[in-house]
Amino acid sequence: MPSATLLGQSILSGLFIGGLYALMGLGLSLAWGYLKLINLAHLAFAFLAAYVTYQFVGYAGLSPPVALLIVVPAFFLLGVALQALYTRFAVGEFASLLVTFGIAVIVESLIQYFWTADFRKLQIEHGTASLRIGTLFVPVIEALMLLVAAALSLATWAWLRFTYLGKAMRASAENPEIAAAFGIDPRRLALLMSGIGTAYAGVAGVFIALTSTLFPAQIFAWVGVVFAVVILGGLGNPLGVLAAGLAIGVSESVTMAVTEPTWAPLVAFTLLILVLILRPGRI
């Protein structure tokens, strides 16, 4: 059995990685729930954003917040443009799997072309700064990442729940025809939603660049766990995604501390399969 400190530290790092899972899952869950789009390209966009951030911060000398200010609007526009194409070519839920898988492969190739398959790690000032709380170390950037994930999940939830635009979004996901009869434009809302979801991939990418070592094959390595988070959290449910991300992150991290690291990848899927068996009808 590990010591209390080790256990505390691994719960903490589970929360941080869980925050990143939630950040990556948020846009995916929104697109799946509200646009009926299973966006396999979402993680590719997150890593594209990570490489772009790496370039901006590592070579162009921009500070991370400035990189964020460029990446987020740019990815918002990318999301809007892609949704316009999906609508134009009437891409349905099943076709979206194929189309977005294709896009993911293209993005991966682009990343390979521009940045090669080498490992890349951003070195920034204070990048590894951490606070000490009691016997625990709290890395500042990871803590910030968790905070941002929580804030975005909460804000998205509140937007869907309390604003006219958010309610219109939910109504048009349920019944676009009747929503239109009440003056809602489901197409424009879909553009907005796709923009938001892709912008979230941008935010995730900036934090990936700041916290991890980059290499192109990672894109597909994350697919399993992030999909588990999305399905566990409930499609289109931002708070659910946050809770599922944190639960999977902590379970993985504690499993690693208690048993050995090779067991960790099993955790997400065991949880997923359990939930699908006990509470069917989530997808």
Partner: protein, 244 residues
């Protein structure tokens, strides 16, 4: 008549793919008028209502609302102009609460400004909805869902309300209440197009009526004139034309 009509349809043709559902349908609704459309199952009544709300494409013919040509208008556009729909089978946003459904009703900016007053008006009309405002609408009884569907349309402050079979599957007491509300709406100056299986009731509250059979208008007139026709009596009131 056609000059002053709030809504005027001339020679509408509507089809589902290759299958025509409406042929050469013309009708008018004056401002503040209650017009009933009666007809057997499959006659095309729902098709007509959905075409007027611009949810279905009009293949041929012309549709005017308030003097403007709206043949090519979108559903959103019709909503902005003041047409609201109580669709067949209610079609609520079943995952959303009662109040959220009503709020979607006043999504159009002109109505949104008076959200609070309009909510009060609907809750006064259907007090049960005030109690159930936080309930998920899909979990309510058919009658209550119909109230939400009517309330949702009223939130849009319509000038023309399209109501498709409001009494379908409802208990008689609720049907009574729904008809009373439709008469109240009419009394407030809103034009109403009412589709109703309960022909006797529909003709009782309508100013005028059309008879739709097999996708064509086969009769029109004042309710009492229609009621005098043996064909109408036997086909829609279940009476043997020779009796009485």
């Amino acid at each position: 008549m056609s000059e002053s009509a709030l809504l005027a349809a001339e020679g509408l043709h509507v089809a589902y793919g290759d299958a025509p559902a409406l042929w050469d349908v013309s009708l008018t609704i004056a401002a503040g008028e209650t017009v009933a459309v009666i007809g057997p199952n499959g006659a095309g009544k729902t098709t007509l209502v959905n075409a007027l709300a611009r949810l279905l494409a009009i293949r041929r013919g012309r549709l005017r609302f308030d003097g403007d040509d709206v043949t090519a208008a979108t559903a959103q556009d019709m909503c902005q102009r003041g047409v609201a729909l109580v669709p067949e089978g209610r079609r609520l946003f079943v995952g959303m609460t009662v109040e959220e459904n009503l709020e979607i009703g006043c999504y159009r900016p002109a109505a949104r400004r008076r959200r609070a007053q309009n909510l009060e008006r609907v809750y006064d009309m259907f007090p049960i909805l005030r109690q159930r405002r936080r309930q998920i609408s899909g979990t309510m009884s058919g009658g209550q869902q119909q109230m939400v569907a009517i309330g949702r349309a009223l939130m849009a402050e319509p000038r023309l309300l399209l109501i498709d079979e409001p009494s379908l599957g409802l208990a008689p007491a609720i049907v009574e209440q729904v008809f009373t509300v439709i008469q109240d709406i009419h009394a407030q100056g809103v034009a109403v197009l009412l589709i109703e299986q309960n022909v006797a009731k529909a003709l009782e509250i309508a100013d005028r009526a059309y008879v739709l059979e097999g996708g064509r208008i086969v009769g029109a007139g004042l309710p009492r004139d229609l009621l005098a026709q043996p064909h109408i009596r036997s086909a829609y009131l279940g009476e043997d034309g020779a009796e009485r």
